[in-house]
Every structure is written in structure tokens, then in C-alpha cells.
């Protein structure tokens, strides 16, 4: 399943990178919704989701609705039924997973980055590198607040040693941090090795740092802003 999901994400990202966005479904309020079946313009909502008008046949949305006499070639494709959390969902899930209560400074920070945080819809195509950077910043703020609270940190990283300086962490300590963060944010630990790699990459830059919370915050923020957390 993980392999399938990863392949799907990779192929979708490839799709984004190679293809110009040609249209999107619009809900009643103008909000975007995901559906990679969309190849034509705005008036496609009358199409069943399994149906796809062959690309290149019509680039004008209205043409579909207003020219039913034109012969349409209908293909079928399984919809890609995953998307990205919008920034409200990301923020809400960050608070829920960490147990951090929204404080005024945190709320101010979120409001400050809200409009640039993104993504602004659940469409994968709306996720940009800038959004990911902002999500990491927000994750760091929330994770910092969580790690600063001994009870929350103890619960989140249950069984892990948070007192050790970064360069004193044994492999088992790193695994513990990575697996707990992955389990809490992703609901699975299969990919936690990626977090260990991240931890290993940053430890040389933290030589002399004695505060163990730094790595805990770093691990938490990396798990929170990883694709496994953002895509759902």
C-alpha cells in the first residue's frame, strides 16, 4: 500500500511538473476540489467522474456544455482520490496531534502566515515549494511549544530520552524519536528511517549543543511537514 501511495504521489507530482493546469472543478462556493479527471474547463461538473473527455478534443469548457452534438470520445480512468490538506486542516491537525493548545502567540503566528501558508485548496496542484517551507515554519512553532511542555513532550515521545545532547544520541534514541513522530503524524512507522536520516544530517551542525529538546523539535517538525502528513 505504501509503495502504491508513493508511486501515485510521484506520478502525480510528475504530472504537475509536466502539464499545464487546464481546468478544475468548482464547487458551489468557488472553492476548488480535487479531481485529476479534469482535462477540460469549468463546465465539466456535469460529467460523471469516471468519464474523461479525451485530451485535445476541447480546450473550452463551455464548448462541452453548449455543443452536445459534437462527438465526444469518452475514456475511463480511476480517479486519483487523494489530496493535500489546506492550511486550516494542517494547523488543526498539528494542534490535535501534538496536544498543544492554541495560545495567542501561536494564533498570531498562524494568522501572520495564513495567507501565504497554503495550500489554499485540497488540490495537489495547489501545493508549492513555498507552501512546504511555510508549513515547516508553522510546524516548528507548534512542535517547539509541545516540546517545551514536559507533559506533552513525554506523551508524544513516550519512552524516548529527551535529555540527551544531540551528539550523545545513540541509534536507539534516534529510532525512538523518529518512530514516535512518524506514528503520531503519519499513523505508521515504515518510513521513519527518513527521519533518522534527517536527524543524522543535522547533528554535525549542533556540535556543542547540550539541549536535547532541539532534536525533538526538529524531528517533530520534520514529521509534521513531510508529505506523509500533508497529503491525505
Amino acid at each position: 500500500m505504501r509503495v502504491k501511495l508513493t508511486l501515485a504521489i510521484l506520478s502525480a507530482l510528475f504530472f504537475i511538473g509536466c502539464k499545464e493546469k487546464k481546468g478544475s472543478f468548482k464547487g458551489g462556493g468557488g472553492e476548488s476540489v480535487i479531481d485529476d479527471n479534469t482535462v477540460v474547463g469549468e463546465e465539466v461538473e456535469a460529467l460523471p467522474s469516471e468519464e474523461l473527455v479525451e485530451e485535445g478534443q476541447s480546450q473550452e469548457g463551455d464548448a462541452l456544455a453548449e455543443s452536445p452534438e459534437e462527438e465526444e470520445v469518452i475514456l475511463t480512468r480511476t480517479p486519483i482520490d487523494f489530496g493535500v490538506k489546506n492550511s486550516n486542516q494542517i494547523y488543526a491537525s498539528l494542534l490535535a496531534v501534538t496536544g498543544v493548545e492554541e495560545s495567542q502567540p501561536l494564533a498570531d503566528f498562524f494568522v501572520g502566515v495564513e495567507q501565504s501558508l497554503g495550500p489554499f485548496s485540497n488540490q495537489l496542484v495547489d501545493l508549492t515549494a513555498g507552501h512546504v517551507a511555510n508549513i515547516f515554519k508553522l510546524s516548528t512553532e507548534v512542535c517547539d511549544a509541545m516540546v517545551a511542555d514536559t507533559a506533552l513532550a513525554g506523551s508524544f515521545f513516550q519512552g524516548c530520552d529527551l535529555a540527551k545532547a544531540p551528539d550523545a544520541l545513540a541509534p536507539a534514541d534516534k529510532s525512538c524519536l523518529a518512530e514516535k513522530a512518524a506514528q503520531n503524524f503519519w499513523g505508521m512507522t515504515e518510513d521513519s528511517q527518513t527521519l533518522i536520516t534527517m536527524i543524522d544530517s543535522v547533528i554535525p551542525d549542533l556540535a556543542g549543543e547540550t539541549n536535547g529538546n532541539v532534536i525533538a523539535t526538529f524531528t517533530c517538525a520534520n514529521a509534521a511537514s513531510a508529505l506523509q502528513s500533508i497529503i491525505y
Binding site: M1, K4, F25, G27, G28, G29, G30, E31, V33, I34, D35, N37, E45, A46, L47, P48, S49, T78, P79, D81, F82, G83, K85, N86, S87, N88, Q89, I90, A92, S93, L95, A96, V97, E101, E102, Q104, A107, E114, Q115, F120, S121, N122, Q183, N184, F185, W186, G187, M188, Y232
Partner: protein, 414 residues
């Protein structure tokens, strides 16, 4: 000896098949649990929740358990947030409208009543260990709800109240108001702001019937109630009026009269609040006509001989031809009349398309797939379940999440 060995082999085979069968058909798979939790709450299940989820008899039962949480209510708010502003923006503060949607979800109330009922939600309840909000509910600002959102704990704070009690302007005419969200500040000040109150009608179609007004255009609708501000010769061409303008205005204008006494007014200090100008029962027809909000007479010189709105009596002439797909709650090829937003909201809420539009909105958000509003078997099935379960939007979410989790599961197994 041989018989014993054969017996053991059969036993081993049976137990192996049994174990395999059990894992294949064991209630709800881990993957389905994870997907449902993510889609309904945005977070994966904890180990304890996963264990509980596996044991549920059906995916729906498992999904239902995930809807009993604050973060699920946040998801509900997120789904409906684009319907309280014209830009379709998700980034809006909590207000009385969105709190009411969340409250209806939490309490399994009949969701149709958001369009015509007397109930709405404040954050006046005090959760265990919490404190009352500093900002009291007000009909003229949103501070109460913004504080509520920051405090979180919606499940503990949301409290059902009566619109008629909270806002005395709606106390004198119980036949026509209150009318759910049409008489709440959050939704009202969006749809009544400036303009001609036609926005109230347009957004009702878009949000609660799931289709923009163009989809309802019908050139054969009589236009005797199209208002004076609509030119009959746009650009000098009567044909454009007949083939374009009239197709929407013919049906819209007679129904948009439902809000003839509703407005949202901003004073010199920037305070915005709803107004309702309908005179008490017994007023003369002239007094009633005088009370119609001014915006209904704007640009009246455009077509001075045309219809003038004299009250909140509305007529639905759109139960003909293609618009019968809405499944109105009155006979096809007839008109339906009423007065005020309450009766109008009830008429909309009792259509078949309202059920399907809500099913589509929930399915779209929960499963991230767009399904056809009128023909999709999934939407039709969800709409039927929505009705069968007393129009509980929470249960509709659970059905939708179970539907796509099971579909994905079948894909994986297939």
C-alpha cells in the same frame, strides 16, 4: 497413526483457511481505518483508536467513531467555510453560521433546518475545567465566535439557542422568520450586502442545491415579475434580454422577493448588523410596500413600467422542463408561492437536490472525488442514507468516509 496425521493435516488446513478468511473479512482493515481517520479528522488514528476501529462491525460504524471529536467539527467548518463568503475562501473566522453548522453536526440535528429553523449555536456552554468566554454573543459583532475559535473545544462550548430570543428583530413575525441562516449575521451579511438581495437566491442555489444559477436558466419562464432594474434591451437588443437575461431573471426575481424586508446595514462606526423591516401583521398594503428595503427599488428608472416589489410574497415558477430535476416538493408543472425567507428556505430544504447537494459536498471533501450531482449512484445512495438517518450531517460524513475507504480497500484487494 495415518488417520491421526490426516486429521491433523485437515485441522491445520482448516485453521489456516480460517485465519486467512478472518484477516480478509475481519471487519475493518487497518488501511481503511487510517484513511477514514485522516479524511474525517486530518489525523491518523492512535494505536488505541486503531484497535477499536478494527473491531467495528462495519466501516460505517468505525467512521462514526471518528466523528466524535473536536477536530472533526473543524473539518466540518472547513468544508462549509467557503459558503459564508463570496470569494469561496477557506480562511474565514468562525461565525454564527459556521458555528450553527458545527452544532447541527455535533447534535445530529435535522440539517434541513439550517435553512428555516429557529435554532442556532453560540459558544455559551462552559466545558468542564474551562471558563466562560469573555465576549458575550452579540448581534452586531463577531468577537464571541472569534474567541470561541481560539479557545477551541467546540464540542464543549457549542450551545443551541433560539434566533428569535437572541435577536428580537425577528420576534414579531413568527410565520416568515426566523429562517435559519438567512436570519443569522454571518450568512446574512454576506448575502444581503449591497446589491439587490438577488445574491441570497443565487448563493442558495450554489451552496444548497449545488449548482450555479446558469444551470437553472429557462427561456420559457414568464417574466412578469422581473424587476425594474433589468433593462429589456441590453445594448439595444431585445433579443439578448429574451435569450439571456430573462432566462435567469424570470425565475430568480419572483423568488428573490422572499428577502424584501431583510438587509445588513453598516453604521458610521462600521458596526454591521441585520435588519428586518416587515411591519407587524395587520399593516396596510401600502405600509407593507413602503417597508420593502430600498435596494429593491434601485435603478427603477431602467424599466419603470415593470414589476415593483411590494412585499415578501415569492413564487417559484421553475418546476418545469429541465428544472424538474431539482425534485421540488410540489407537483411538476405548477407554481409554488409563499411569503418570507422561512417558507422559501423550507421549500429548498425539502427538495431532492438539497439532499444530493449535501451528499456531493460531503463526499467531495471526504473522498476528494467529484461525483455527478444528479446521476452518480454514490451520491444517490448517500442522499438516501442522509434522509433515512434524519438528515444528520455527521452520519452523512461517516457514510461518505466509509464509502471511499471500502472502495479503496476493494481496489487494493482486487
Amino acid at each position: 497413526m495415518f488417520a491421526n496425521a490426516r486429521g491433523l493435516a485437515i485441522l491445520a488446513f482448516v485453521s489456516l483457511v480460517g485465519a486467512e478468511t478472518a484477516s480478509l473479512y475481519a471487519a475493518v482493515s487497518d488501511e481503511a481505518c487510517r484513511r477514514m481517520s485522516l479524511r474525517l479528522r486530518g489525523v491518523p488514528p492512535s494505536a488505541a483508536e486503531l484497535a477499536t476501529c478494527r473491531q467495528q462491525a462495519t466501516a460505517y460504524d468505525a467512521a462514526l467513531a471518528f466523528t466524535v471529536s473536536n477536530i472533526f467539527l473543524s473539518e466540518v467548518k472547513d468544508n462549509f467555510a467557503p459558503t459564508n463568503n463570496e470569494d469561496g475562501n477557506y480562511f474565514v473566522p468562525l461565525d454564527d453560521y459556521l458555528a450553527t453548522v458545527m452544532g447541527f453536526a455535533r447534535d445530529d440535528r435535522d440539517f434541513r433546518e439550517i435553512l428555516y429553523g429557529n435554532n442556532f449555536y453560540t459558544c455559551n456552554a462552559v466545558p468542564a475545567g474551562g471558563a466562560a468566554l469573555q465576549n458575550a454573543y452579540s448581534v452586531s459583532d463577531n468577537l464571541h465566535y472569534e474567541e470561541c475559535e481560539q479557545e477551541g473545544d467546540f464540542r464543549g462550548r457549542l450551545q443551541a439557542e433560539q434566533i428569535q430570543v437572541a435577536n428580537p428583530i425577528f420576534a414579531n413575525n413568527p410565520t416568515d422568520v426566523p429562517a435559519g441562516i438567512y436570519t443569522l449575521r454571518g450568512f446574512g451579511c454576506m448575502i444581503y450586502e449591497a446589491g439587490t438581495n438577488r445574491a441570497a437566491f443565487r448563493w442558495t442555489l450554489a451552496f444548497f442545491l449545488g449548482e450555479v444559477i446558469d444551470k437553472f436558466a429557462d427561456s420559457q419562464t414568464p417574466d412578469y415579475r422581473v424587476r425594474r432594474d433589468v433593462t429589456r434591451q441590453p445594448g439595444g437588443s431585445a433579443t439578448v434580454y429574451e435569450t439571456k437575461c430573462k432566462t435567469c431573471h424570470g425565475g430568480m426575481d419572483p423568488m428573490a422577493d422572499a428577502w424584501a424586508f431583510n438587509d445588513c446595514v453598516e453604521d458610521d462606526n462600521g458596526v454591521r448588523q441585520l435588519t428586518y423591516t416587515k411591519p407587524a401583521p395587520g399593516a396596510t398594503p401600502n405600509a407593507v410596500a413602503q417597508a420593502v428595503v430600498q435596494k429593491y427599488a434601485s435603478n427603477a428608472n431602467t424599466t419603470p413600467q415593470a414589476y415593483r416589489t411590494v412585499g415578501d410574497a415569492w413564487t417559484n415558477q421553475w418546476n418545469r422542463r429541465a428544472n424538474t430535476r431539482v425534485e421540488w416538493n410540489f407537483p411538476v408543472d405548477t407554481d409554488r408561492s409563499g411569503t418570507g425567507p422561512k417558507a422559501f428556505g423550507q421549500m429548498i430544504a425539502e427538495t431532492g437536490q438539497f439532499k444530493r447537494a449535501m451528499a456531493q459536498r460531503v463526499y467531495r471533501k471526504t473522498c476528494l472525488v467529484e461525483e455527478n450531482l444528479h446521476t452518480s449512484p454514490i451520491i444517490l445512495d448517500l442522499a438516501a442514507k442522509f434522509e433515512a438517518e434524519g438528515f444528520s450531517i455527521r452520519k452523512l460524513y461517516a457514510h461518505a468516509a466509509a464509502e471511499c475507504a471500502e472502495a479503496k480497500n476493494n481496489d487494493s484487494n482486487g
